[in-house]
């Protein structure tokens, strides 16, 4: 099982939309996929019509209750979900109760090794013990970056943090998201190829109102607007990610 985190220090960068759309496309390509909504706001649970509520979340995070018990099937074949829970607001504290708090998440996801080929973690925006757990559990981190100086700066902050924590070998795959070519700033950054320290993926996810409508349809973009530029871009992003994870079509 490959573990992929969709992560950003900063919120509002299209993280959840990326996690949900990639999880959906992975399942559609025949990979048994699990999406774990770690964000207490529960946005990806909402998108998939699954209640952001887990029985005994504390026991779950401490490994006293199998993760599999909390799994819910989504509306899409091959895609299951571990929903969020409001208790995840205190996830730092819950993880800290474990013996080796920084690797607790990695220990937990090992339970699902045989059940899924891909686990996608939709992570809360922050730089905390939760993030550190994520960094130590993943095969790669997918980082959406809006083409703005501020967003690029948070990417640098993340890379600095990883270097400091001797996690510099965790693959970080940034890509541009919510790119709006009508905005001059976006256009300039897209054209100028600023120093990102690690190479950007070649796919750019454009800003598109269809993505915002995910909350209305409560489904991935490709389900209701398969021909839209956003849907096409997510397909391209999934191809790129699948290739890098060696999960290309069976």
């Amino acid at each position: 099982m490959k573990v992929l985190a969709v992560y950003s220090i900063k919120g509002g960068v299209g993280k959840t939309a990326t996690a949900v759309n990639l999880a959906y496309l992975a399942a559609r390509s025949g990979r048994r996929t699990l999406l774990w909504d770690l964000d207490p706001q529960g946005a990806s649970s909402f998108y998939l019509r699954i209640r952001p509520k887990v029985d005994k979340p504390r026991k779950l995070l401490r490994g006293k209750r199998p993760l599999a018990d909390a799994v819910k099937g989504s509306d899409f074949e091959g895609l299951d979900m571990l929903p969020a829970d409001p208790a995840y607001r205190r996830m730092d504290i819950l993880l800290d109760e474990a013996k080796k708090p920084t690797v607790q998440l990695r220990r937990l996801v090992e339970q699902l090794e045989d059940d899924y080929e891909l686990l996608i973690l939709d992570c809360p925006p922050s730089l905390t013990l939760v993030s550190e757990n994520v960094f130590r559990a993943v095969d790669a981190m997918l980082v959406p970056v809006i083409p703005t100086p501020l967003s690029l700066r948070t990417l640098h902050q993340l890379l600095d943090f990883l270097a400091e924590e001797e996690l510099g070998d965790v693959p970080v795959w940034p890509f541009y998201a919510l790119a709006d070519r009508r905005k001059r700033l976006h256009q300039e950054i897209l054209d100028s190829k600023p120093d990102t320290r690690v190479p950007l993926l070649s796919t750019v996810i454009p800003y598109h109102s269809e993505v915002e409508r995910m909350g209305l349809h409560r489904a991935p973009v490709a389900e209701y607007a398969g021909k839209s530029p956003a849907a096409t871009a997510y397909v391209a992003l999934w191809r790129e990610v699948a290739e890098r994870l060696r999960l290309t079509e069976a």
Binding site: G30, D114, A250
Partner: protein, 524 residues
């Protein structure tokens, strides 16, 4: 994976009565129709079926997945990278491959039947519009593995419930409504059993074991015809798989059928007309000879992993040129063998032998032909047993290798005779005797096989050297291997004396006497 429910339907599924039975706010949404193909996979000798496993390759659009149903009804699924036929190595690592690892090798998975279906699908949604159950109606036709369009057989229409994780209770509830409220009949979710039934395929219908039903009053000639026909059926069943080299066991089983036929031709004496049978003796000897080289190579390739463990760690890599050499040689021998099995000569042997065996036996052709088979079988087995005991005693505790080889040949003949005529004797009396004989045969067989292996290894080394395909270190590794094989042979030899002593024990002899010693026939 949640367990799936399946129901047989008499007519097209109508969602309205089902919805009426469900209390609460539910909707059923129909999805676009689709096609699905199932290929039921098993080895030629039904190893999965015997273990209560059912493996299906499911194709939906351009996606394929393996689905394994275990004896406890639990299903596992994994994407498939390739179709059938397939060896274990072709399955992705994981639970399915693990479940087959002790069951399947060295056999390959073959498509034993296929089902093409038209699929209608619905989603059952709760009040919030969340899908909680999938319903799938299938209308299919079964196709035999080699069948064309004319060989299609319609299968009963089925409705399957596919519960979602975390919503299993809805599936249980709907299943109950279908069963009790609407009177639907529950059937197994795996489509293979009805497919086999419709196409006339009998799961477990092939076994390399000898199964010839005989009764004591049958004449010896009739019994002989039946035994030979059974062996010929086995031989012919394995020809196509041997030619295509689907796996190593087709040729193995074919050769065993040939060897048993040759043994029977020499051991079932004065029962068939000698002038008719003599030419077949030569023909089956020929078949034994021409199938040998490929089998030898198969054995070396199958044993290769063990060989790696036998040589010092720093020489293991150096055996790789040897493996490549075996593979190249095996490809050549495979082609040669395929040509022989397609030759007019081979076809004539099979055809004429079958014609002879299917004709009524000539009861005047030989002195034992019309005697009851039981008397002939007993006399033959008893005589051979006594010969083995006498020969073994004469050889003493440290016999020469050639003597052991001769003893092995006789023991094997004895085993075949007991197996040919097994149905004439009570299993509880016969089985322990065959088992004890196998114990002795294993030691004699291994002793001989190891000698042959050492000889072959030396032969391969010489050929590789002559063809410039053997680096010095590879020759060293092969030398180390030969030394190990000979050591092992010396070890096996020390086990012989005790094994023969057990076979020769008073208890074993008494058991043979009780079962096989013929009553004196009334004087004429």
């Amino acid at each position: 994976m949640p367990s799936h429910y399946a129901f047989q339907l008499d007519s097209a599924f109508d969602p309205v009565p089902l919805l009426a039975l469900l209390s609460g706010d539910w909707t059923l949404a129909e999805e676009p129709a689709a096609r699905r193909r199932y290929e039921c996979a098993d080895s030629f000798d039904w190893r999965l079926h015997v273990e209560g496993l059912a493996l299906v390759l499911v194709r939906v659009g351009n996606q394929r997945r393996w689905e394994l149903t275990r004896a406890d009804g639990q299903t596992l699924a994994v994407p498939a990278a390739q179709g059938l036929p397939a060896h274990l190595e072709a399955l992705p690592a994981g639970e399915i491959a693990d479940a087959l690892a002790d069951v399947l090798p060295p056999r390959a998975l073959l498509a034993r039947a296929a089902v093409d279906t038209r699929v209608r699908r619905w989603r059952l949604m709760d009040a919030e519009g969340k899908t909680v159950l999938r319903l799938v109606e299938e209308e299919g036709t079964a196709v035999p593995p080699e069948g064309g369009r004319n060989a299609r057989h319609a299968l009963p229409r089925r409705l399957m419930l596919q519960p979602l994780r975390g919503y299993e209770d809805v599936g249980d509830q709907v299943a109950l409504h279908l069963e009790i409220g609407l009177g639907a009949t529950r059937v197994p979710a795996c489509p293979c059993a009805p497919a086999y039934h419709a196409t006339g395929v009998v799961p477990g219908g092939y076994s390399s074991k000898i199964r010839v039903p005989l009764v004591p009053a049958l004449t010896a000639a009739e019994a002989a015809h039946r035994i030979f026909l059974h062996l010929l059926d086995t031989l012919e069943a394995n020809v196509a798989g041997t030619r295509a080299d689907r796996d190593s066991e087709f040729l193995h089983d074919l050769r065993v059928a040939v060897r048993r036929t040759r043994s029977a031709l020499s051991q079932i004496k004065r029962v068939l007309p000698e002038d008719r049978v003599a030419p077949f003796r030569e023909r089956f000897d020929w078949l034994g000879r021409v199938t040998g080289p490929k089998r030898d190579l198969d054995v070396f390739l199958l044993q290769f992993p063990d060989y790696l463990a036998e040589v010092p760690a720093d020489l293991r890599e150096d055996l790789e040129p040897f493996r490549r050499f075996l593979l190249e040689d095996s490809a050549k021998e495979r082609a040669a063998l395929a040509r022989r099995l397609a030759s007019p000569h081979f076809r004539t042997v099979v055809k004429e032998w079958r014609a002879f065996l299917e004709a009524p036996p000539d009861l005047d052709a030989a002195e034992n032909a019309a005697r009851p088979v039981e008397a002939v079988a007993k006399a033959r087995i008893w005589r051979l047993f006594r010969r083995i005991i006498a020969a073994g005693r004469a050889m003493g505790e440290s016999p020469a290798p050639e003597e052991l080889h001769e003893l092995r040949k006789d023991c094997k003949k004895l085993r075949y005779l007991m197996e040919f005529f097994a149905s004439l004797f009570p299993a509880e009396a016969l089985d322990p005797l065959i088992k004890a004989l196998k114990g002795l045969l294993d030691i004699l067989g291994e002793h001989q096989d190891l000698a042959v292996q050492a000889q072959h290894l030396e032969g391969f080394a010489e050929r590789m050297a002559a063809e410039g395909k053997a680096p010095a270190r590879t020759l060293l590794a092969l030398g180390a291997l030969v030394a190990r094989v000979m050591e092992r042979r010396a070890e096996v030899r020390t086990e012989y004396a005790a094994a023969f002593a057990g076979f020769e024990s008073a208890e074993n002899r008494a058991a043979y006497r009780a079962l096989f010693k013929p009553m004196p026939e009334p004087a004429a």
